[in-house]
Amino acid sequence: MLAYIIRRVLQSILVLFVVGLVAFAMFRFVGDPVDNMLGQERTQADIERLREQLGLDQPFVVQYWRFLEQAAQGNFGLSYRQGRPVSEILLERLPATLELAFVSGLMALLGGIALGIFTAIRRSGISANIIMTASLIGVSLPTFLIGILLIYVFSVELGWLPSFGRGEVTRIGGWTTGFLTESGLKALILPAITLGLYQMTLIMRLVRTEMLEVLRMDYIRFARARGIREKSINFRHALKNTLVPVITITGLQLGSIIAFAIITETVFQWPGVGLLFINAIQFVDIPVMAAYLMLISVMFVGINLIVDMLYFAIDPRLRVDRTAGGH
């Protein structure tokens, strides 16, 4: 098992190196950073000096290494647009995105698992079929359309919920939270649904398929033949086995929530890193874009690792070290 974990960690690091290369390439080849940083009035000497200062006269590999070194310390330089350290800007925006992702991820996970179990157990029931049909719509509607529809119904027509922004936030240390005020919570609802709906339907359909599969297994049949009650069969014998394969994919889904947040944040003008990224693209603010890319990939890779560990925790067959034979 230890060998496996080490291998996974090494793989993760490799992935980060590759993403780092892409981010670095953006710096290097999308526009000239020197052009970007010096205004119209510049002399050749200015350019040379800055080149040296930035290490742009060094060989590619050295530059890349230095970039990684800096990135690992959270140092992505100054934003072209705001002139402030990128890390500072990102940290400011991160709580908004993380809170949104957390709420919609939780909603997707709990809702998806609950609905998946329900539709599997009541396979031929009317309500299960209605949910399944509705979920098809949920999967096929694009995120921004869902967001706009929700805004139209709940903000424009009914006027119950705000259509943009984060509402009132409370500052706790370096963190800003919308959880503590009524307007903050209200503002979370529509974006969270928009962001989580797609993942929820995916998880639901996945849980349903897996659960139906598991319910056909011999050990379920054998449990029935021993007179184990349905409740235990569904929630003890079947659910655990259902969750093993579900966890991997679900974990990846939750990772992609943070990436998908770009669209939702744009629709709702949610002041998170996604919106920051979109604005950065408009202004070709390369340091911000690169930093965002690195941040997202670190999260992805981190979530992946955690998911793998969970896998071990749930499935005892993986916990033993295989000494003999293949795998």
């Binding site: 054998f222 033949a225 021993r226 007179g227 184990i228 014998h237 086995n241 499935d315 005892p316 067959r317």
Partner: protein, 332 residues
């Protein structure tokens, strides 16, 4: 023995499956008894309806298959009319079931102890510690060494043969009167098959359990069964004491089965397959379902109604049973 109420009594059982091409009868008018401490072997080609019969008894038929007529009595009580919760309470407590593949019969994510104690506590009013002690005893009974230390192991930590022992312990832990073992040795190594059969036989005798032992293996039948039921195309072809059926089969199909299995008693005789294949359920011939493959078939065999145990000699569903010379002479 016959005066006592049998543990299991199946009377004219019919199982039907409605399909687009008509109604199939995977179990057609089957009757048999099993007494306490007795093993009834059930043999027949694949698709003969052996599993379907067993599943019907424990009420675990997969839809759309269903019992359409006949009776099933467990220690004299009708159980074919029971549904849902009432039937569930009987399963495990009154009747246990053992499946073919021990690798897939056990829940991989629950320890052996969890699965045992849950079953025990479902049916017997005992506390956690008592259930655990009983679980350990059940494992010891089926010959798991060091049961006390192995009870918290997961199924994958046992070998195939040991897993089938665990399955048997699970089927028997709530002390049922009837056990249906559906090909309990088919998926096992040849070397452990005999051990599992011997174990079933021992438990049957010691605990006085009635056992229905479904198998393809005539050797297993010869070794373990007291009586044997031969099924063909959903019907009983022959039913009788194992020694008599194996040494002097009345039904030509039984004789054919015997000739195609390498049994020690048959010595050096060459193996002979029965020509042709069992007809599909939707396409059964008139009269005796076996007649297209039967060497002894005559006109009467092709006419309806076909032979049944009741309308023939009570042992074989055949108008022209084999090996009955002596009887004929006696009765003549």
């Amino acid at each position: 023995m016959t005066e006592k109420t049998p543990v299991l009594s199946v009377r004219n059982l019919v199982v039907e499956i409605p399909t687009r091409h008509g109604i199939l009868r995977p179990v057609d008018n089957v009757s048999y008894d099993i007494h306490a401490g007795e093993i009834l072997g059930v043999v027949g080609e694949s698709g003969a309806g052996k599993s379907m019969t067993g599943n019907a008894v424990v009420g675990l038929l997969d839809r759309p298959a269903r019992i359409t007529s006949g009776e099933i009595l467990l220690s004299g009580q009708h159980i074919h009319t029971l549904k849902g919760e009432a039937l569930r309470r009987l399963r495990g407590k009154m009747m246990g079931m053992i499946f073919q593949d021990p690798l897939t019969s056990l829940n991989p994510l629950l320890t052996v102890g969890d699965q045992l104690t849950e079953t025990i506590q479902e049916h017997l009013k005992v506390g956690q510690t008592e259930a655990r002690n009983r679980a350990i005893a059940a494992l010891e009974e089926v010959g798991i060494p060091a049961a006390r230390s192995r009870i918290d192991s997961y199924p994958h930590e046992f070998s195939g043969g040991m897993r089938q022992r665990v399955v048997i312990a699970l089927a028997l832990c709530a002390e049922p009167d009837l056990v249906i073992a559906d090909e309990p040795t088919t998926a096992l190594d040849v070397s452990v098959q005999a051990q599992i059969v011997a174990l079933l036989k021992r438990l049957c005798r010691e605990k006085g359990v009635a056992v229905m032992l479904v198998t393809h293996d005539m050797g297993v039948i010869a070794e373990a069964a007291d009586r044997v039921a031969v099924m063909y195309a959903g019907r009983l072809a022959e039913l009788g004491p194992v020694r008599e059926v194996l040494t002097a089969a009345h039904h030509p199909y039984t004789a054919g089965l015997m000739a195609s299995t390498p049994l020690a008693s048959q010595g050096k005789e060459r193996l002979r397959q029965i020509p042709g294949a069992m007809p599909r359920l939707g396409n059964l011939p008139d009269g005796c379902a076996f007649h297209p493959r039967c060497d002894y078939a005559q006109d009467r065999c092709r006419a309806n109604p076909g032979p049944t145990l009741d309308t023939c000699d009570g042992r074989a569903a055949c108008w022209f049973p084999l090996n009955t010379k002596q009887k004929d002479e006696v009765s003549a």
